[in-house]
């Protein structure tokens, strides 16, 4: 029997008008076995696909401060550059099958087969990149998430091939929108982490497509399954790079949420991504709240806190100087450590923190005064770098941006300018925002309740519960960091990066 004919023949019998899951199941049970039977098994070491990803930490400073550093950072300055990643799918499909799939089938209907064909045809060659890009575009514009889950290793490999092609052509915009579609189509509710999520954000940051990246970040990703070839690093990177996008778009509060997720991740020892996240979180806390806290979220791993304190020490010093409120000391500290901020890609955030320091000194006058002459504000105003606007222009800008609720009064050109502080009145927009937030919290509560039930009924949880019930006293005291939720599994072999 001609294998090629048999797989195409079987394909004809699949009902593509069924649901996405039904089609995926039919392909898995009837078509894929035939293709796998013809395929060549790759043994470890043959390295079908070796993809080199470098410069994985684009800087945020280019989007914020006046200091501009464009492009990505090569090397290990931030410690998160990937080494060569060997992506070795278990098998490579036969050449005849590759051609049959790419020429005779529709990628919208048989995404799984297209994934197999593309990784096999273009995986280890200096093939025609434009042909690869064209085919990958056709696939990702119409990819079925359910079918991608059938061949997770090949799907992950394909996505990295696309990123590599974009880097080779020095065009991060290449296939950016199809990558976004791939991430969104992985699950109907867009809440499942896929190999495309972090990769898309990296490319979007390189391409300065922050607004496009927000289309992915408007969905909360709270489902994670390693069966889909998603790794612990994908979770860290998605939320870290997501925070960088949010910082670029000035959504600082949501950025802090994302960074907190990174800091709470249960890896041991802590990842450099988590350390970078902590540095940014400290600066964002200063910008938003005027104070910092190296106190980690409750669920964070205690083993990591020592590492955090060591690596984030300069940031801690800066934050202490900021909180103390002495501009002379702050300027001294800034002069000492701004090169560290720059090397970490946080110079822009540092500048924003200095601007926030200036703003918060003016805002604090509201606690004491109802009206105050502009001259008095000038006497209290401090521009650390001495290159900003005048006090009057700065105050007017604060009022314009909503950072200060005040009005200006000047009766005549010879009389002093008076700043009249206003009470913040609650408006309809405040109430709308509050309602939206409460609705989001309610939905999150429902998701947590469902997740809690699922974890509570899982075999792993029940067996660990039994173990801890029979364990000697002091078991829960180990490290002091294990809480009630024992989803934390020591045997996973925590990642070292």
């Amino acid at each position: 029997m001609n294998p090629q004919l048999s797989f195409l023949t079987v394909l004809e019998s699949v009902d593509f008008d069924g649901t996405e899951d039904a089609v995926a199941l039919a392909l898995k049970e009837r078509v894929l076995p035939i293709i796998q039977a013809n395929a060549t098994t790759i043994s470890s070491g043959e390295g079908l696909l070796n993809v080199n990803i470098t410069g994985t930490l684009p800087e945020t400073s280019s989007s914020n401060g006046s200091h501009s550093k464009d492009g990505t950072k090569e090397g290990t300055a931030s410690g998160t550059t990937d080494a060569e990643i060997s992506l070795v799918p278990k098998y490579m499909i036969a050449k005849d099958d590759q051609e049959a799939i790419l020429t005779k089938t529709d990628p919208a209907r048989v995404s799984a087969l297209w994934i197999l064909a593309l990784t096999a045809k273009y995986g280890n060659q200096t093939a025609d990149i434009s042909e690869f890009v064209s085919n990958a575009n056709r696939l990702l514009d119409n990819v079925s998430g359910a079918q991608a889950k059938l061949v997770p290793e090949h799907y992950r490999a394909l996505l990295y091939m696309i990123a590599s092609a974009a880097d080779a052509l020095d065009n991060p915009n290449l296939l950016l929108r199809p990558l976004l579609n791939a991430a969104l189509s992985f699950s109907p509710e867009h809440d499942t982490l896929s190999p495309a999520h972090a990769l898309f954000l990296i490319q979007a940051l390189k391409a300065k497509q922050y607004k496009l990246a927000l289309q992915l970040l408007k969905y909360d990703v709270d489902k994670f399954d390693s069966a889909y070839a998603t790794a612990y690093q994908d979770h860290l990177r998605f939320h870290y790079y997501g925070a960088m996008v949010l910082i670029g778009m000035k959504q600082y509060e949501k950025a802090i949420e994302y960074l907190s997720i990174v800091l709470c991740a249960p890896g041991f020892p802590c990842s450099m991504v988590q350390i970078e996240a902590l540095k940014k979180a400290i600066l964002l806390q200063l910008i938003l709240y005027g104070k910092h806290s190296l106190k980690l979220p409750r669920m964070a791993n205690d083993f990591s806190s020592h590492s955090y304190r060591v690596f984030a020490r300069p940031y801690d010093h800066f934050a202490i100087a900021f909180e103390n409120g002495d501009p002379t000391v702050l300027k001294l500290v800034w002069n000492q450590i701004n090169t560290i901020f720059s090397a970490d890609g946080n110079y822009g955030l540092g500048l924003l923190a200095l601007t926030a320091f200036r703003k918060q000194r003016i805002q604090s006058l509201r606690k004491t005064f109802i009206t105050v002459p502009m001259e008095y504000i000038e006497s209290k105003d401090v521009d650390i770098l001495e290159n900003g606007p005048t006090t009057k222009a700065f105050v007017l800008a604060m009022i314009q941006d909503g950072d200060l609720k005040a009005k200006i009064s000047q009766k005549s050109s010879t009389s002093p300018i008076i700043v009249v502080f206003q009470d913040g009145s609650i408006t309809s927009s405040h109430l709308d925002a509050l309602e939206a937030k409460l609705d989001a919290v309610r939905q999150l509560n429902e998701k947590i309740a469902i997740a809690d039930r699922e974890v509570g009924q899982s075999r792993e949880y029940l067996s660990r519960k039994l173990q801890s019930a029979s364990a000697p006293a002091g078991f829960h005291g180990r490290g002091g960091g294990l809480e009630d939720l024992e989803g934390y599994d020591d045997s996973m072999g925590m990642m070292e990066l």
Binding site: K411, S428, L431
Partner: protein
């Protein structure tokens, strides 16, 4: 390398949704394609018109990166047209809130453009938009102030500013004619205030209930 579509073939009244899908094509077109410059010009002005200064800055970076990619080895990447150079300055002035500079550069650029060109039309819209937005700011930020200070925000002369403000109900100060006094704004109706309060009370109850559960 394909050439970019002629800008004059685009609809007369362009919106962001008309311009955004064309960016991938602009990135691949030749850097010396005049239509590409005009496209970026219109796109940048449209973003500024929609108060999307952040995205305009990012577009500028993407544009610069695309030009470096396309013209590597053949042309100086910084050699952009005079108009694009002006729009960069306009964007910088809006970013730094230097409205004196904004109105000055915009006026100069308008004088250099054909009257009926899409660029002139959209730039005039931008100037009006910035003036309107600044007036909204001035009306909530000033109880009274120097005419010259407010004129900077409106991009008008002192006399024109006085006429503009008087139409909106402002008046000159008796003590000093170069100072203007804002009109007294209407207060919220008691009914509206009661509705807001009722809504706030209901949200507070919801929060308390969620805390308890």
């Amino acid at each position: 390398m394909s050439s970019f579509l002629p800008v004059d073939s685009l609809p007369k009244y362009l919106s962001l949704s008309d311009l955004e899908p064309l960016e991938p094509f602009a990135q691949c077109a030749a850097a010396d394609d005049a239509n590409v410059d005009r496209y970026y010009l219109l796109f940048l002005y449209s973003l500024m018109n929609n108060d999307d200064i952040e995205e305009a800055r990012f577009l500028l970076k993407r544009m610069s990166a695309a030009r470096r990619t396309v013209t590597a080895g053949s042309k100086d990447a910084a050699d952009i047209s005079a108009q694009l150079s002006s729009v960069c300055k306009i964007l910088a002035s809006l970013w730094t809130k230097d409205y004196a500079k904004f109105f000055s550069i915009a006026t100069d650029v308008l004088q250099s453009l054909p009257l009926e060109s899409p660029e002139a039309s959209i730039l005039r819209m931008l100037v009006d938009h910035v003036r309107d937005a600044n007036y909204q700011f001035v009306s909530r930020a000033f109880l009274s102030g120097a005419l010259s200070d407010i004129a900077v925000y409106l991009g008008l002369s002192d006399i024109a500013t006085m006429e503009f403000l008087q139409e909106k109900g402002w008046s000159a100060s008796d003590e000093d004619p170069s100072t203007v006094i804002a009109p007294v704004l209407g207060i919220e109706s008691p009914r509206h205030e009661a509705q807001q309060k009722a809504r706030l009370d209901s949200l507070t109850s919801l929060i308390t209930h969620m805390q308890r559960s």
